[in-house]
Symmetry: C2
Subunit: 357 residues, 2 copies
C-alpha cells in the first residue's frame, strides 16, 4: 500500500502539511530544500525545556497536554526545523496500560516487576484511545499551532520495549532478553506480538489525532544478528507498520548500529529508513534497495566541533545523499543533553541554504 492510500471511509482531504518539504521527501517527491529534524530535538538540550519541566517528573510531563504542546513546539520555533516530533517517551504506552515503571534521571526506564514468564503477559492488556486521552488532546492543540509544519508521531518498537520489560531497565548486553528469545521462542513471540498490538494502537491514536508521519524507534535492535532480527523481531515490527498502513502517512524506522539490518528494517514496512553515522547514505541506499527514502546521518558528536568541521561533515552527508530517491536530514542518533542548541540552529540553516534550489 502506498503512502497515498487512505483507509476507506477516512477523509481524503490531505493535511495542510501535505506539501511540506518533510512529507515530500518521505514520499520521494522533489523538494525545495532538504528537510531537517533532529531526534530528541525536544528535550534537555534546550534551556526553555529545562525551565518548563522544572519539578515535573518525566512521565508526568508526558501526560499534560499544554506542556507536551509547548515542549514539542520549542525546537520548531528555535531551530526552524521542518518537522515537529511529538514529545513523549517510548515507555508512555506501557505506563498507560498500568505497568509500574518510571524513568530514573541519569538511568532510563526502570520496570518495578519485569516480564519474565507467561503469566506476566497478562499484565500487557490492549491499549485503548481512552488510556491516552492526553495524546489526542495534545496533538489537536499541536496541529492547530503547527499549521503547515508536519508533526511526527512516534513509538518504541516491540524489541526495544521488550528489552526494558524483561531486563527491568537499560542493559548493555540484553542477556535476559536474548535468553528468552533463544530459550523460549514461543513466549518471546507472544510477548512481542502483544507489544506490537499496543504500539500499533498507540501510533493509531497519534495518526487519528493528526500526526502526519510516524517513526518507530527500535533503538536497540542493532544488538541482534540479522537472522535473529528476521526471525524473532521483524514480524512484530511489520505488524505495527501494517496497523497504520491504511492511513497512508509515511512510516520511518530507526535503530542505532543497525547497518546489517537496514534492508530488513525497510522490508518490515517502512517508507523511510533511518541510518546512523556508521554507514554512509549511499551505501545504506544500496543495502535498503529502491523505493524507500533515507533519513540521517550526521554523527551527533560532530556538533561538539567548531562550525567549519560541522559544515565539512554535513557536506559529506549531503554528498552521500545526492543520489537518493528521498532524503530527510537528521543526526545519526538523538540530540545529546550537553549539546549547544545554537549549533543545531546553525546546522538546520546550513542544510537549508546548501540544498536550496
Amino acid at each position: 500500500m502506498s503512502v497515498n492510500d487512505r483507509p476507506s471511509g477516512q477523509p481524503t482531504k490531505p493535511p495542510v502539511s501535505h506539501n511540506s518539504p518533510f512529507l515530500r521527501a518521505c514520499r520521494r517527491e522533489p523538494v525545495p530544500h532538504t528537510p531537517v529534524w533532529f531526534m530528541r530535538q525536544a528535550g534537555r538540550s534546550l534551556p526553555e525545556y529545562l525551565k518548563v519541566r522544572e519539578g515535573i517528573p518525566m512521565l508526568e510531563s508526558c501526560t499534560r497536554p499544554e506542556l507536551v504542546t509547548e515542549i514539542t513546539l520549542q525546537p520548531v520555533r528555535r531551530h526552524k526545523v521542518d518537522a515537529a516530533v511529538y514529545y513523549s517517551d517510548i515507555v508512555v504506552p506501557l505506563k498507560a496500560i498500568g505497568l509500574d515503571l518510571d524513568i530514573k534521571p541519569g538511568v532510563g526506564p526502570v520496570v518495578a516487576d519485569p516480564i519474565r514468564s507467561r503469566a506476566d503477559l497478562d499484565r500487557l492488556r490492549d491499549l485503548t484511545p481512552d488510556d491516552v486521552g492526553y495524546v489526542t488532546e495534545a496533538i489537536g492543540m499541536l496541529t492547530a499551532e503547527l499549521g503547515e509544519t508536519p508533526l511526527i508521531g512516534f513509538a518504541g518498537a516491540p524489541f526495544t520495549l521488550a528489552s526494558y520489560l524483561i531486563e527491568g531497565g537499560p542493559s548493555r548486553t540484553y542477556e535476559r532478553t536474548k535468553a528468552m528469545m533463544y530459550g523460549d521462542p514461543e513466549l518471546w513471540a507472544d510477548l512481542v506480538d502483544r507489544l506490537a498490538d499496543i504500539t500499533g494502537a498507540f501510533l493509531k491514536v497519534q495518526v487519528e489525532a493528526g500526526a502526519s508521519a510516524v517513526q518507530l524507534f527500535d533503538s536497540w535492535a542493532g544488538a541482534l544478528a540479522p537472522a535473529d532480527y528476521e526471525r524473532h523481531v521483524m514480524p512484530a515490527s511489520a505488524k505495527v507498520f501494517d496497523t497504520i498502513a491504511p492511513y497512508g502517512v509515511p512510516r520511518i524506522h530507526f535503530g542505532v548500529g543497525t547497518g546489517e539490518l537496514l534492508k530488513l528494517m525497510g522490508d518490515a514496512g517502512a517508507d523511510v529508513v533511518g541510518v546512523d553515522w556508521r554507514v554512509s547514505l549511499d551505501e545504506a541506499a544500496r543495502r535498503v534497495g529502491p523505493g524507500k527514502a533515507l533519513q540521517g546521518n550526521l554523527d551527533p558528536t560532530v556538533l561538539y566541533a567548531p562550525t567549519e568541521v560541522v559544515e565539512e561533515k554535513t557536506r559529506e552527508v549531503l554528498e552521500a545523499a545526492a543520489g537518493l530517491e528521498g532524503h530527510v536530514f537528521n543526526l545519526g542518533h538523538g540530540v545529546l543533553p550537553t549539546m549547544d542548541p545554537d549549533a543545531l540552529t546553525r546546522l538546520t540553516e546550513y542544510v537549508h541554504t546548501r540544498t536550496a534550489h
Copy 2:
C-alpha cells in the same frame, strides 16, 4: 612481513606451542580441530576466580605474578580451551606509567584527572619493561606451566584507551573523545600516537617474555564511521602492530560492532580479525579480503539458552566458517559474569568434537 619472520638476532627456535591448533589456525594452516578460546575466559564467570580474587582490588591483582598465573590457567584447566589469554586489564600499562586511575566494580575504569589538553600529554611517558616487571615474571611462570598451549598477550588499542582517558571513565556517546578528534585533530593524533608507543611497548614486553600471539582490543572502535576510523585511529593501531611485527607472532585485532571497519582493522596489520556476532563469518571474510584468518563469533548471550540452542547456533557459526582460510572459534564479545561456566566447557568440547578430523 609474514608471521614466520623473526627479528634479526632473535632466537629462531619456534616455541613449543608452535604447532598448536590455535597458532596453526592463526597462520591459516590445516588444523586437527577448530581451536577455541573465549575473550574474558579468565574472570568473574569462574567461582575459582572469585575465590582467589577475594579482597584484592582488580588492578592490584594484575600486579601479582602468582595470582596472574593462577587466574590465567584456571579457564585452560576447566574448559580445555586451546589458548590461554594473559590476565590483565587494558588500563594496566597506563597505571604502570603512573596515571591515577582505578577500576570501579560495576562501573569500569575511572580516571581521576582526564586528559583534555596538550599539557596533559606530558603525563603519558614511555613505558619501559621495568614498569611492568610483574608481567615478565608472570609470563615466565605461565609458559612453563602451559607447555604446548599458547599464551595470548593483549593490550587495549589507542582509540579505546584514549576514550577512557578523555571521558574519565566509560561512555555511551564518546562525546568528549570525538570532540577532541574532530575539533583538535593535531592534539588527538599526538595523543593516540603516544598511546601507540605505550601499547606497543607493553605488547613487546609480553612477547619477549613468551606470549606466542597478541590481541589488540579496540573495544569501542565500532562507535566510529569508517572514514573517521581510517583517518584518526588506524595509523596509531598500525603503529602498534608494526612494533611487534618483527617477532612474527600472530596479531589479532578485535572490536565490538565493527562490521563496517573489518577491512580497515585487517589492513591495520592484523593476521587475524575478530568479528562480533552481527556479521556472519562468510560475509566478514568477503569484507576483510584474502590473507587473514578470522576469529569469532557466537553471540555470547546464546550461552544463556538451553544446550540444543547453543549447539544449533554453534553449527551456524561453523558452517559460515567452513570456507575460511583460518578460523579461531570465540564468542562475538567477552564472557559475561553471570554465565554458567559449564556451558562454556560444553561449548568448547562441542566445537572440538564437531570439527575433529
